[in-house]
Structure formats: structure tokens, C-alpha cells
């Protein structure tokens, strides 16, 4: 069985908001709403650190990290269990999705979600551009919406928009049930956390912090499983944490250590149309 999940390497994340913005574009997220947010763990305000500057030769305590946050696609998803009319459900591939034709707008799911991942269309949603991209289902006033792991792209064998558009290769999407997938390997090999683990929701979004992973260079916008040779850089030993850390420390390009000379850069190909 396929069980999609996401790994976010917080050590790689540069807080550029590209995932938040591309999510908004890809999914016609209404103005004033975000499905995917890049939060600053640190100071009071966005992009500010906590702690203080070094003074008089001392060592400062400035600290900041980014935490991109969207629907965690929990295995024990409270939102699915509370939905009175089965509008929110877990797909066979593990994606938690909403049937916008069924949703009665009771917002019990918003009460249930500990991550505040869901937004409600309090009025007639406004889009930019007005007509939207046409790739995703329109959501009317009075229903709840949220991240779908870009299920419309996944069904076409493409990675979610936030993953493809991450310039730091900090987002890796894949099948958690497949032991050879990058997400599975990284969860095994790196120190990963899930948000609010103590609530028992079993999120399928895992955050790497501490040691930087090699990320997953985007050789195309295809899902890992759709690539011809599963992954151009994971031929066994390459993605061991120790080695990864070595290269990441030394390299200036962010650790694409195993891409050989003529590999395609990680910018997605443009042939797929003007919609992403």
C-alpha cells in the first residue's frame, strides 16, 4: 500500500516562503488564507531570532529556525474522526482530503486539528488570478479547506508544488511504506520529530533537525517512484548521515554532493504547462 508522507529538513530550510507561495498559487488558496505557512521558531516576529547578540567577547544566544507548517496528514487524524458527514476522509494512499460537496461547514474539524492547519471560507473566496489555475476543484463559501499534498499532482505522478518549488531541497515527498524511498530512509537515519507528538495524532509529516540531510535534489517534478532510475544519487551508501554531513559542511551549493556532472539542475522542467 502507498502511504504518502513528507519530510521537511529544517536545517536546509532557508525561510524563503517559496513553498507557502507556490502552494497558494497551485491550489488557488483564497486571499487572506494560507494552507502552508512558514513559521519562525525564535523571536516574537517573523524572521526574528530569539536570544541576544554576543557582547564583550561573549558568545551570543541568537537562535532561529523555520518550521514550514501545513496539514500533517495524520494517521490518527482527529479531523477525520470528528467530521459528522464523512466530508473529511483518509484516502487509500494516506492523504487526508475534503469532499467539498459534502462539507456542511460545521468547523468541528477545525476544533479537532491541533495544528490549526484548516481554514474556513468565511465569505465568497477571492482568488488571484480571479479564475484560478483550473487545476484544482473550486471551493465555495462556507466550507473548510486545507492542504491536500497536491493530490491532483500526485495522481499525475508529480510531486506536490511545495516540494518541487523548494529551492533548498528541504522538502521530500514520498511513500512511507516503501522502505527504499527517501522519506523512509531519512526517517530512519536522521533525527526526526513530528509536531505535537504527545497528542497521538501520528502525523505523516516528519521534521529533520540537528543534522542536515542531503535533501532530495529535484531532477524533475516527478514523484520519486516515477523516476526512471529511482534516484540519481541514492545508490546505496551515498545518503548515509555521516557522509552527508561532511559534504554539507564543506560544500557551498547546499550538499548536492552526489549529482554527477551532467545531471539536470533541480529546477523543474517547464514543459508541463504554465500552471505551476
Amino acid at each position: 500500500m502507498t502511504n504518502y508522507g513528507l519530510v521537511i529538513d529544517q536545517e536546509r530550510c532557508i525561510g524563503c516562503q517559496a513553498c507557502a507561495v507556490s502552494c497558494k498559487q497551485e491550489n488557488n488558496v483564497p486571499m487572506g488564507q494560507f494552507w502552508n505557512r512558514v513559521l519562525t521558531e525564535g523571536g516574537e516576529k517573523m524572521d526574528t531570532p530569539s536570544g541576544g547578540y554576543p557582547e564583550d567577547g561573549g558568545s551570543g544566544s541568537l537562535d532561529m529556525q523555520y518550521q514550514p507548517t501545513a496539514c500533517q496528514h495524520c494517521e490518527n487524524a482527529p479531523c477525520v474522526k470528528v467530521c459528522p458527514v464523512n466530508a473529511t476522509y483518509t484516502r487509500d494512499d494516506g492523504i487526508v482530503e475534503i469532499d467539498y460537496d459534502k462539507c456542511i461547514g460545521c468547523r468541528y474539524c477545525m476544533a479537532a486539528c491541533p495544528y490549526n492547519a484548516r481554514v474556513f471560507n468565511w465569505d465568497e473566496p477571492e482568488h488571484m488570478p480571479e479564475a484560478g489555475t483550473g487545476d484544482v476543484e473550486a471551493r465555495p463559501q462556507g466550507v473548510v479547506e486545507k492542504c491536500t499534498f497536491c493530490s491532483h499532482r500526485v495522481e499525475d505522478g508529480l510531486d506536490p508544488a511545495c516540494v518541487v518549488n523548494c529551492p533548498a531541497d528541504a522538502r521530500i515527498f514520498g511513500d512511507l511504506d516503501d522502505e527504499t524511498s527517501t522519506v523512509s530512509k531519512y526517517i530512519n537515519e536522521y533525527e526526526t520529530d513530528q509536531l505535537l507528538e504527545d497528542r497521538g495524532t501520528k502525523p505523516k509529516t516528519h521534521y529533520i533537525s540537528g543534522e542536515m540531510s542531503p535533501g532530495r535534489p529535484q531532477t524533475s517534478d516527478k514523484l520519486e517512484s516515477e523516476l526512471d532510475d529511482v534516484s540519481p544519487w541514492s545508490d546505496g551508501t551515498d545518503d548515509l548521515p555521516s557522509e552527508a554531513a561532511d559534504t554539507a559542511d564543506g560544500g557551498s551549493g547546499g550538499g548536492h554532493h552526489s549529482i554527477e556532472g551532467d545531471e539536470v539542475p533541480h529546477v523543474p522542467s517547464v514543459k508541463s504547462g504554465g500552471d505551476d
Binding site: Q33, T40, V82, V85, Y108, P114, R118, L196
Partner: protein
Amino acid sequence: MATNGESSRVAVPSYSGKGKLWIGLLVALMVAGLAAWGYQLTTGLIATGMRNVFSWGLYIMMFVLFVGLSAGGLIISSAPKFFHSHRYEGFARLGVLVSLACIIVAGLLILPDIGRPGRIYQFFTSPDFRSPMVWDFGIVLLYGVLNLWYLWLLTRRDLAARGSRLALGVTDTEAGRERDRTLMFWTAALALPTAVALHSVTGWIFATQIGRGDWFSPLVAPVFIAKALVSGLGLLLVVSVLADRFTNFEVDREELTSLGKILGIFLAFHVVYLLAAERLPHAWADHFEFWAITSSFLVGESVYFWLWTVVGGAVPLAMLAIPSLRKRVSVIFTASVLAVVGTMFEGIRLVFTGYEVANIDAAPGISLGGEYTGITTDIWATAGVYTPTLIEIAVTLGIIAFGALIVTLGLKYVPIQRVDAQQSYATDGGKQD
């Protein structure tokens, strides 16, 4: 006083000028409420004070209150029946009428809260039985039907004797009355567990949620039962005293005092005991010094807490505990009003504790989803704030007015009192006009 009928009496034979004015006021409130709801339907829930962080507001707070209010009447009338007692017989019919009105108000309050009320049929076509809201939907419907049936069962022979069409063809015979008494016993036997289930399930809507602070507590269901007893009985006493004063309905003074005492016991159990039981473990675990534990245990965190525990708890409890005061009708009335108001603030506080604090509150926070003006960047919030809008208040008042209208009409069309009931207190606090 008793105008006609041998065994029963209606409280209002016909509406006086004041009565018509009262009905006119209720109808005006209902029309205003409908208009406000119409406006809200066209603009969306943006017309309310709710936003993405604080996504349940006045409608749900009042839903919680009115579910609780619907407990009193049914329990006061069915508990004695279940034990074959004639105690509080004078309150039985009025109690069930008030219960019925309250559960209708509670059910209707859900309609303006949901974003797409036209799809509510999905509860029947596509229910998920894991959802506490489905359980609640079922139990509220069952409770409403049960109240309607019980009220009719209590009064149908008297309705028949009066030639009312509401008897629906039932005739007034001695054998029939005898059979009804058996039916009443069995209805009471069903009503009590249904009432317990109603309040527990409504509590579990909140108590099952791991993401909303204090909601996730096994104590919520028992607390909901306790607050239903407090507020339900409180409302029944308020309505009884008002009906005694303004209609031909007569309250048995002794029973009123006795129910006042019971309200005091309920208050003590709810606001003193259960609250202490809920707060002590947290206060103890979170603090180290004796006085830190004590103050964390005793000192509440919000104005709603104080409105509930002092205005709606300690004050009425004191009024009902002092022997020289607690027999006065005015004292019982005031204490009951305070108990209901206090319970209202308890519900408000419950919703606030769930939404005020976001579990993940890193900057910039959560997008609010409010009206997008294009200029401001202030679409973020790291904590929940909520103030109801006039639209929400108008809709809520309209629905409550509908409940009041049900009671008012019931006083005219349902023989609300058996005539063998005893004397009115009439002389003391409630001066007849």
C-alpha cells in the same frame, strides 16, 4: 382563577393586552433574527466574529447552554414519576414544556452556525458514526421527540376532556388515564437515561478533542450533567415564578422552597466540588510552593471564570443556604437567575479556553481568513480573540424568542396544571397584579 375543566387548568385562558404585547415583542425579535440570518446567509459567516483561530462562537456557546437548560424540566417531572412519587407534580407539565422549548432552541442554534445549512441532510445520508457530533445530532432529535411525546402523554386526557383538537382523537376515560400512568412510568424510565446521554454526549463533543486545551478532560461529561441540573432546574424555577406571577399558573410554595434547596445542592456539587476536583490536580502538578499551588487552585484565569463561579455560583449558593433567606420567593428567583447566567458564562469560558491559545503559536501565526482588503497585511494571528457581532446576537435572540413563544403558546393551549394542586403562595414575594 380556574376557569374551566374539572381536572386541569390552562395558565392563560386568553391573552390580555400585556400578553399580546409580549407575543408581539417575541415575534419582532424572531423577525429581526430571521432578517439577520438572511443577511448572514448571503455574506457568509464573515458577518460573525468568528475567524480561523476562534472558529466556534456565540451559537455554540448558546447551544451548550440550551442543551443544559433542557434538562431541568424533564428530570424534575420524570424522576419522581419513575419512583412512583407525586412530589413536584405541580411542576411536571410546565417543566416538560420548558424542556421542549429549550431543546428546540438548542437544535435551531446549530443552523446559523454551519456554513452550508442546506446540506444538513448529510447527517442522514452520509453519517460517520465516529463523530461525537453525529451522536449528539441523534440524541438531540431523540430528546426533542421524547419531550414532545411526554408533554402530550401528560396532558392528552385533559386535552380530550377540554375538547381540544390537540388530543388527536384520544378520549378521556378512567381506564385510559390508568393506562397513561403506566406509560408515564415507562417514558420516565426512558427519559432519565436519555437526558444523561444527551448531556454526556454534548460534553464529549469537547472532551474528545486533544487539540483544545482544557477540553480534553474526562470530567467534562460529568460536569455537563451537573451544569444541566443547575441551569435546568434554575430555569424551571424562574419560569414557574414568572408564570405564577403573570398567569393563572400556581406554584406550590412548599415545593418551590424544596426545589430551591435542591438547586443549592446542585450548585454546591457543580461549582464547588466538581470544579475543585478538576482544578486541583493541575494546580498541584504545575506548581511547587504551597501558596503557588493554592493560588493556582483558587484563582481563575478569566473574567468568565469569576462571572461563573462567584456571580453564578457562590452568590446563589449563599442565598439558598441561609435559612432566613432561602424561603423567600424573590431569593429563590434571583438565585435561579444567577445560576442560569453563571452556567452561560461557564459555557462561554469553555469555548474560550479551547480557542484562546494556539498550540503552535510561532510567528506569523495562523491566517485568519477575514475580509481581504488588499492593503493590510494583518491577516495573521497567534492567539484567538472573539467578540460576537450584532448579527450573531440578533440571530441568537430570535431563536431564543422562538423558544419563549413556544412556552407562551403552551401556557394557553396545554392544560399546564392539574387542579388538585394546592394553594398558591401568592402573598409573599409575588404580588399578584
